[in-house]
């Protein structure tokens, strides 16, 4: 019978006092659980309200937890129908398991039922509260950083210079090649698009104005900030988050160190220092890319490009870009720190916080860029 589980009627013998006799056999094991379950449900459905049932288990070859539980489910199903079931012929090696199965699944915990509308309203409410918490956490982090800076000024020896240098190397120096490459390409693309469209009304030369102002005031610093958020903000969050998960942060605290001093401050400062440098290099690379494109695609000689650039841009344009950069570094660092320190126990939470860190810092970088643009317009820069 190749192990197929069996549960068949062995006839309604008069000798059994009108009780129904079922005979079970085969493998009552995990592999056969699917078949066995269907078999049992059929038997329960076919015998509603029999007086008594005897289940002969003698021919069962193997029985494991799955089989024992399904037998128990059969018994409960038949009892519920008033069947007073009895098990006979159970092998000794199976007895303990069948007895154990009798005790389980008695109190099934009610899974909370949810109303769709209420659930979606709940999500909205929770999100609003979460935004509030996020703002509070960022403000708290800024405050903690200010205190940490204050401490470092009062006790300069407690400041972690080595760590700062290491972090500047990581987020600044090592980011230079990729930043140069991407901003170079962005500058070239801007120039190419400008040339293509401006040429239609003979305004080729204004491409230089556009590239110069756009790159120095906005695109250079924004591109660099977005890339640093993706490259370094995410790694800071993941680092701090996994340290939080492994209780390293708690260990620091118990030794009397403030994790803000030891971990967050050097990282934030490194970003504040590195971002203006990268923004400067990025802007130069973009201008170079734009010039190369004007020469190769627009037929504009480098002399013309440089002279025109000198007239088109002012020191103000250059300054605006660089003034914004440290703020963007601060935003990326603070968000990365807040998200990293709020990681809970699970790997999933680490992933979610890392995503949050990148998304939120890019959003805030763009928002702050807009606010600063309005500010600079108001002060006439």
């Amino acid at each position: 019978m190749n192990g197929e589980p069996v549960l068949e009627s062995a006839g309604q013998g008069a000798g059994h006092g009108g009780r129904l006799a079922l005979s079970a056999g085969g493998l009552w094991t995990a592999e056969r659980a699917g078949e066995l379950e269907r078999l049992i449900e059929r038997v329960i459905a076919r015998h509603p309200g029999v007086d008594g049932v005897d289940i002969d288990m003698a021919r069962v070859e193997r029985l494991d937890t799955f089989g024992a539980w399904l037998l128990e489910r059969l018994m409960r199903g038949l009892s519920a129908a008033g069947g007073e079931p009895r098990i006979t012929g159970l092998a000794d090696r199976h007895r303990a398991l069948v007895l154990r199965a009798r005790e389980v699944n008695r109190a099934v915990p009610a899974s909370p039922r949810r109303v769709m509308l209420a659930a979606s309203l709940e999500v909205v409410g929770r999100t609003v509260v979460q935004v509030g918490h996020d703002i509070a956490a960022v403000v708290a982090m800024l405050g903690a950083l200010a205190v940490a800076v204050g401490r470092a000024v009062v006790h300069p020896r407690s400041f972690r210079l080595t760590s700062l240098v290491h972090q500047v190397d990581r987020v600044g120096w090592r980011a230079v090649p990729i930043i140069l490459l991407i901003t170079f390409l962005i500058g070239a693309i801007l120039a190419q698009q400008g040339l293509f469209h401006f040429r239609q009304f003979g305004a080729d030369i204004y491409v230089v104005d556009m590239v110069g102002i756009l790159v120095l005031r906005e695109v250079g610093v924004l591109m660099v900030a977005v890339m640093v958020a993706g490259r370094s903000g995410s790694s800071y969050t993941a680092e701090l988050g996994s340290m939080k998960m492994r209780e390293e942060i708690d260990a620091l605290r118990t030794m009397g160190f403030d994790p803000i001093d030891v971990l967050v401050l050097p990282r934030v400062l490194a970003l504040v220092i590195a971002l203006p440098c990268l923004a400067f290099l990025g802007s130069m690379a973009a201008l170079y890319g734009g010039g190369l494109m004007c020469w190769a695609y627009g037929g504009m000689s480098p002399d013309v490009y440089i002279t025109r650039m000198r007239d088109a841009i002012s020191l103000g344009d250059f300054a605006i870009g660089l003034i914004k950069a440290p703020f963007m570094g601060l935003i990326i660092g603070v968000i990365a720190g807040v998200q990293g320190l709020s990681v809970a126990g699970s790997a999933e939470s680490l992933g979610r916080k890392t995503t949050d860190s990148v998304v939120k810092s890019i959003f805030l970088v763009i928002l702050v860029d807009g606010v600063l643009a309005m500010f600079f317009a108001a002060v006439g820069m």
């Binding site: 094991t29 995990a30 592999e31 659980a33 699917g34 379950e37 494991d64 937890t65 799955f66 539980w69 399904l70 489910r73 090696r93 303990a96 398991l97 154990r100 199965a101 005790e103 389980v104 699944n105 109190a107 099934v108 915990p109 899974s111 809970a344 126990g345 699970s346 790997a347 999933e348 939470s349």
Partner: protein, 260 residues
């Protein structure tokens, strides 16, 4: 040292050599685990106990030797034959290794869902039954691993190891990190489950109480091989200095009780 030429061995390890960082940690190691026994596996920290376990279950590659589980030579077996053997064992990792993004119930359901075709209802019932069998209350089942205590984590991990009703369970220091009462309960649990389910248990442990109370046989790993194997009596009578100091040390039951 070939006292374990057992016919009834479920796990048969012969002349196993495993390298770790260039040097052989296990050197021509032989070991038999008999069907239906609880084998306690002891050895100094870093002697390679966990390494042997990880080699048997295929997480660490071996350099030479043979590992046979249930008559299947794992080194020579096809992928599908290996998978069939893997279906027959459950592993309890030292830290539990629960999937942190799944609830306790989902952790237990995971292997069942992957390997067996069963209805949603049976899946829920079996998972709950397993969790109850390892002594957890039903309200634990919707908690995430981060919300569980150390003892509960071990129990959920044991329930997951037992999810597919394996024949063999590997336990890596099941009682480490538990208080003596919790550890005692866990020992009883392993003994009860072993008797009810007819399991073969391979247990790496440092817990002298576990060795005394639940293990049928003990194997001692030193110098890269099994230096002695047998019931606790054999261990206590052993002449080997390491075995002597392990079982007769300050913390051992025998002499500790005498000194008190």
């Amino acid at each position: 040292m070939d006292t374990n030429a057992d016919d009834d061995a479920v796990i048969r390890v012969r002349d196993l050599v495993v390298d770790f960082g260039g040097a052989p940690v296990l050197d021509r190691l032989c070991l038999d685990v008999r069907r239906g026994e609880i084998l306690g596996f002891v050895g100094a920290s870093g002697a390679g106990k966990s390494l042997l376990m990880r080699t048997i279950i295929g997480l660490v590659p071996k350099r030479a030797g043979m590992i046979e589980v249930d008559g299947v030579d794992l080194g020579a077996a096809s992928a599908s034959a290996r998978r069939r053997v893997e279906r027959r064992w459950g592993i309890l990792f030292q830290q539990g290794a629960l999937f942190s993004s799944l609830t306790a119930r989902q952790n237990v359901q995971f292997p069942i869902r992957e390997y067996l075709r069963v209805s949603k209802r049976l899946l829920d019932e079996i998972a709950l039954a397993k969790l109850e069998m390892v002594g957890l209350s039903p309200d634990v089942c919707d908690k995430y691993p981060a919300q569980l205590s150390g003892g509960m984590t071990k129990r959920v991990a044991l329930a997951r190891a037992l999810a597919l009703d394996p024949d063999i369970v590997f336990l890596d220091e099941p009682t480490s990190g538990l208080d003596p009462i919790g550890a005692g309960e866990f020992d009883d649990l392993i003994r009860t489950l072993q008797q009810t389910l007819g399991l073969t248990v391979f247990m790496v442990t440092h817990d002298l109480d576990s060795l005394h109370t639940v293990c049928d046989r003990i194997a001692v790993l030193a110098e890269g091989r099994v230096i002695t194997a047998g019931p606790i009596g054999t261990m206590l009578a052993s002449e080997h200095p390491w075995v002597q100091s392990y079982f007769h040390g300050k913390r051992s039951r025998v002499d500790g009780a005498r000194a008190a």
